[in-house]
């Protein structure tokens, strides 16, 4: 039982990261009906920007707790600085991608935009491979890695707590932006109908740009937080994680924000459980990456609108 609860915590933790990334997919899809293939790479760029900032601030080692002695200032301040910095950096990159790659092809067909998105994704990945090499880099620990003993054998580590805390915070913030602010209202209007929103005087280009910025910032936060939990990053880390997050968005019902969070958590838990209990039923842990795709195929076959999505009748 303790083992199960521990695995559940680990799974929810990974799921929270997937959820953060899935939010970007779902928001962009909701507005543009575009799968932003480059979103997983924005997550990777976020982690790299975070790495640069952390090094700039004097964090050097990934041994947990060691930085506390060498870096003079408070650890929490460092975490917040790195997090906010990488979120801003990724937001700029997300907006640039939208402006220079997606906006010019927006008027073309889905196939064209899809290929453009794949092109942008490959471009970012392999530019980073060419610049930094494809080897893994260690990410410095920004917080002490104290484990908190809950009950029995169940522990929750400091990075895990931070991942839960910050992702919940960000999700509440996102919910607030979408439902309580003017730009959020505009976003919802655009996602209902782009042309009508334009007729109502909404500057749709700005709204779309803002959506990309918001989604990219979430993904970057996910990148930095993952790096706290699993401190090695590489230029191709965004591919598989991005795909899984996309699956999470589809599972929850693409275009649906609470759905993306739910989907992320479900995928994280399912994946962890396969690794934890798979050997009992003859599944090697290398099947881990197949879990998300299997879920995707099942969802698309059984309930294509996702868990929380509503079916949209196709117009002729």
């Amino acid at each position: 039982m303790d083992y199960f609860v521990q695995q559940l915590i680990n799974g929810l933790n990974i799921g929270a990261i997937y959820a953060l990334i899935a939010l970007g997919y779902t928001m962009v899809y909701g507005i543009l009906r575009l799968i932003n293939f480059a979103h997983g790479d924005v997550y990777m760029v976020g982690a790299f920007v975070g790495l640069g900032l952390a090094k700039l601030l004097g964090y050097t080692t990934s041994i947990p707790g060691y930085n506390a002695d060498t870096v003079g200032h408070s650890l929490w301040g460092g975490l917040v600085l790195v997090l906010v910095g990488s979120m801003i950096g990724a937001a700029i990159i997300g907006m640039a991608i939208e402006r220079f790659a997606y906006r010019p092809v927006r008027k073309y067909s889905r196939m064209t935009t899809l290929i453009t998105a794949i092109g942008v994704s490959l471009l970012i990945e392999y530019l980073f491979v060419a610049w930094y090499g494809s080897a893994q880099r260690s990410f410095p620990a920004l917080v002490k890695n104290d484990a908190i003993h809950l009950f029995g054998d169940v522990r929750i580590s400091m990075p895990q707590l931070i991942i839960f805390g910050i992702s919940i915070l960000l999700m509440i913030l996102l919910q607030w932006i979408i439902y309580k602010t003017k730009i959020g209202t505009a976003m919802r209007a655009v996602s209902f109908n782009l042309n009508s929103a334009k007729l109502m005087g909404i500057n749709t280009d700005v709204v779309i740009s803002f959506t990309f910025a918001l989604g990219s910032a979430m993904a970057a936060a996910g990148g930095v937080l993952t790096a706290q939990y699993n401190p090695s990053i590489d230029p191709l880390m965004g591919i598989i994680t991005g795909l899984k997050a996309f699956v999470a968005a589809v599972l929850g019902g693409i275009g649906n924000i609470p759905g993306a969070v739910l989907g992320g958590l479900v995928i994280g838990v399912a994946e962890t459980m396969v690794v934890a209990y798979g050997s009992d039923i003859g599944l090697a842990s290398s099947y881990r990456d197949a879990v998300a795709f299997t879920i995707l195929i099942l969802v698309l076959l059984l309930r294509p609108s996702g868990l929380l999505g509503s079916t949209v009748q196709e117009k002729v």
């Binding site: 009906r33 575009l34 799968i35 790659a101 010019p104 092809v105 073309y108 067909s109 889905r110 196939m111 064209t112 899809l114 290929i115 453009t116 794949i118 092109g119 942008v120 994704s121 490959l122 471009l123 990945e125 392999y126 530019l127 491979v129 060419a130 109908n193 782009l194 042309n195 795909l243 996309f246 699956v247 589809v250 090697a284 290398s286 099947y287 990456d289 197949a290 998300a292 795709f293 299997t294 995707l296 195929i297 698309l300 076959l301 294509p304 196709e314 117009k315 002729v316």
Partner: protein, 447 residues
């Protein structure tokens, strides 16, 4: 001549040409005048890529179903065929060799094994296609990608084909050949490339092909016309997978080493880039794309800066020409072949000028070399940039849906009045004019 004799002669000529080319594909061949190994290696890779690209074009270019799973089916074919040759065909091959001689014996075995590869990949295509082809567009893309990854993960977990360490021969507890035999010479690769092209060409021009194209143009309308769209899509998908399996079998028996790392989705992307560059819905386009993408990394290695410059100038030239606009050109070079020559000349002038500025004046090549920038490391970056540039300037690809052929020679015959303008826009026959919408894939979306 009756058509079937014509075809027979054609097939015979192709086989003879391939045999002759195959003989010329080594240093010793052709009385010592043969092609060096390096180039023949590239030609063989290009042949395999042509099979992949043309077969993917059937499902993506002609049927309009975006699949990112081609590498998965290639993997199925590669592993299935290598598995058979390593573990099962040794005895049979000895018997056949005793009966027919080594060459014929190997040929029979190889054809059997490749057919098995095609069958295995077709089966995989059927299993993947039936559920996923009900989906559209982006969902289909992701699901095919997912299936390809699942196939790869399943293969990694099969110990008998080496698992994560790769497969080059029998694995310890099981008995079989120590190495995968290298059956696939240029003859076989070329032969199957020709077969793929002929089969896809004939499918596209049959009523099945018309149905596939109608699905691409408008699936709902096709359905309304009584076309069983799911059935046709599955048929196209299965044929496409079967050829990907053949390509995999050829690759397995050429490279003699298989690793699941070679079949990651980056491989699928490469094939997509080939058909997107060449033109989706154009067989000659995808052949061109396959050859260019195969040769590109090698060109980058040997003559980097000029090649990179030449490639970078393609989108720039396209953009400039679009800014100039056809209508403003002098009458003589506005259309037809004079226009093509003008475009080419424009490009050559642009290239010469920028080459002079960048390389002769600014010494860019020396500077880059001094900074130790290796252009071949940027291979995938260049692919990606080409892909994006293509989408921004010419989303239908180099050739669009047109084919390169010799039909222009026959034009005078077809239209006795020659190339005189019919209904305005000079020169171009109405049937060959671009559709009024700039983008053939444009959807009229109701939102």
């Amino acid at each position: 001549m009756p058509p079937f004799i014509k075809r027979l002669v054609g097939a015979l000529v192709i086989v003879l040409v391939l045999v002759a080319l195959n003989a010329a594909m080594s240093n010793e061949g052709f009385y010592g005048m043969g092609l060096p190994y390096y180039y023949s290696h590239l030609l063989r890779l290009a042949g395999i890529n042509v099979i992949l690209a043309v077969s993917l074009n059937l499902i993506t270019g002609f049927t309009g179903q975006f699949s990112i799973g081609h590498a998965g089916f290639m993997a199925v074919g590669a592993y299935a065929s290598a598995f058979l040759t390593v573990y099962y065909t040794q005895g049979l091959e000895q018997k056949l060799t005793a009966m027919l001689g080594a060459t014929a014996g190997q040929a029979v075995i190889f054809i059997i094994v490749l057919l098995a590869a095609a069958a295995a990949a077709a089966l995989a295509g059927l299993v993947v296609g039936i559920p996923s082809l009900r989906l559209r567009g982006d969902y289909l893309a992701i699901v095919t990608l997912g299936f390809a990854e699942i196939i790869r993960i399943l293969l990694v977990n099969v110990q008998r084909v080496g698992g994560p360490t790769g497969f080059s021969g029998a694995i310890a507890p099981w008995e079989g050949r120590a190495t995968i035999p290298q059956y696939a010479n240029f003859f076989w690769i070329g032969l199957f490339a020709v077969i793929t092209i002929v089969v896809v060409y004939n499918i596209v021009r049959s009523d099945t092909g018309r149905a596939l194209i109608s699905i691409r143009e408008d699936e709902l309308a096709a359905q309304a016309m009584g076309i069983n769209t799911t059935r046709y899509k599955v048929v196209a998908f299965v044929i496409s997978s079967a050829f990907a399996g053949v390509a995999g079998g050829l690759w397995a028996h050429y490279n003699a080493f298989l690793s699941t790392q070679d079949f990651q989705f980056i491989r699928s992307f490469e094939v997509i880039i080939m058909i997107v560059l060449g033109g989706m819905g154009s067989i000659t386009g995808s052949i061109l794309g396959a050859v260019v993408i195969t040769a590109l990394p090698e060109l980058l290695r040997t003559y980097p800066y000029e090649i990179v410059l030449a490639l970078a100038l393609i989108p720039l030239a396209a953009l400039l020409l679009r800014l100039i606009r056809r209508e403003r050109l002098p009458e003589v070079i506005r259309s037809g072949w004079p226009h093509a020559i003008f475009v080419l000349a424009f490009y050559v002038v642009l290239f010469t000028i920028s080459r002079f500025i960048l390389i002769n004046t600014l010494d860019l090549d020396l500077r880059l070399r001094a900074a130790n920038v290796k252009i071949e490391e940027y291979r995938l970056v260049i692919y990606a940039a080409l892909l994006i540039a293509m989408m921004l300037t010419r989303p239908q690809g180099l050739l669009g849906q047109r084919e390169i052929g010799f039909s222009w020679l026959k034009r005078a015959q077809r239209r006795p009045e020659g190339d005189a303008a019919v209904g305005g826009a000079g020169g171009v026959p109405i049937a060959e004019r671009d559709a009024p919408t700039a983008d053939p894939y444009k959807e009229t979306e109701n939102r």
